[in-house]
Point group: C2
Chain length 199, copies 2
DNA sequence: CCTGCTATTGAACACTCGTTCAACATGCAT
DNA sequence: ATGCATGTTGAACGAGTGTTCAATAGCAGG
């Protein structure tokens, strides 16, 4: 078992290096750039090993999808050391953060969306993740604005997500950063907006 | 020449049927679903004819890109029978129109964006079209709000486009229509918003 | 040492891909 | 009638694809 840990460590290393390679290739060259051979080459392993860890090419892509979806969910995961207001605000500002607005991540998201559009199976995974994301956002809003009903929170979350998606997409097309900043401000206005009843 | 017109007509028919088939396949199955053979099958012509009208697969995709870009530009083309205010308003509302929010068109746009992200050549075409679109939108704003400087109009156009892109993308993911309507309203608020100076 | 298990390799298979090309069809000009 | 340009076909080629699989390596437990 002592060496098993090492083994398991290396095993995970190889497997995750394969997944990482797939993500890299997908973001750089799109789905047509992701072949079992190119993934193996990029990961520095033999062709057979890719099929050893991932039965199908489909399984590999699914794993990539799940990886990115988990990453997205982290964006609306609250920092327990902050007030609800701060939690919501930082979550909203994270989407313009340097680590998120990298071409690699945005490109990855775009290719996965396109992929989901072409394949039913991927679409379901994507839709589920999208729903959880809105739920997470709505929860943050609910904590920051306790007067709102859950439906109202979901509504605000939906509106915010529209703009966020627009920011992500438009960043790839190279719109100026100032517009992104104004859009961020807009999401905050929506999320923090005055409660319809509370005075 | 008399029959040449007929000939040219049929020629265009075949050629545009090929392009149409490519657009169809691209929107339904993504770039991996677009092969010269599948395009030929979908268009009901022989394989060789696709390469006869389009030297490359790249040329075919480029043609598809241009087709969609032209279509996009029409969205911000003013109707000469309306007042500037109406022109801007209808343009803004067009993006939620039934013909535009079809899955086919949105999916097509998405796949083309993804394609542009993976290929330098497509990216340039896309970026140019994007710029012309913003220009068209800014022009509409300038006509409706003569007090604004050109830079201010471009700024508003950029902000509007962020939300529009978000609406397009989010429509594919199946967000509720109500959120789209609120987003449309938001673009109108931005475009028609009070001039910073004018009283 | 041997057995058994997991990790890893690369050759091999059947297939699809983009592109090329010789062949044929059609209709106009000479 | 003959020649020529244009349109159209499908076979063929080489390269690349996903998947399978026998073979090997390394190491744990007997």
């Amino acid at each position: 078992m002592g060496t098993n840990t090492v083994n398991s460590g290396e095993q995970l290393d190889r497997q995750s290096r394969i997944l990482e390679a797939a993500l890299d290739l997908l973001s750089r060259h799109g789905i047509s750039g992701v072949s079992m051979r190119s993934v193996a080459r990029e990961a520095g392993v033999a062709l057979g090993l890719v099929n050893y860890y991932y039965d199908d090419k489909t399984s590999l892509i699914r794993a990539a999808l799940h990886r990115v979806d988990e990453h997205d969910l982290l964006l609306v995961t609250p920092d327990p050391d902050s007030t609800p207001d701060e939690q919501l605000r930082t979550a909203l500002r994270r989407v313009a953060g340097a680590d998120l607005l990298t071409t690699k991540y945005l490109s990855l998201r775009l290719h996965l969306w396109a992929l989901a559009q072409a394949d039913e199976g991927y679409a379901e995974i994507n839709a589920a993740a999208f729903d959880r994301y809105i739920d997470g956002l709505a929860t943050l809003v609910a904590n920051a604005r306790p007067g709102l009903t859950w439906a109202e929170c979901r509504e605000r979350a939906s509106d915010v997500v529209v703009i966020q998606n627009g920011m992500w997409l438009t960043s790839l097309l190279g719109v100026d950063k100032a517009s992104i900043q104004r859009s961020i401000q807009r999401t905050e206005d929506i999320a923090f907006g005055p409660a319809p009843d509370a005075g």
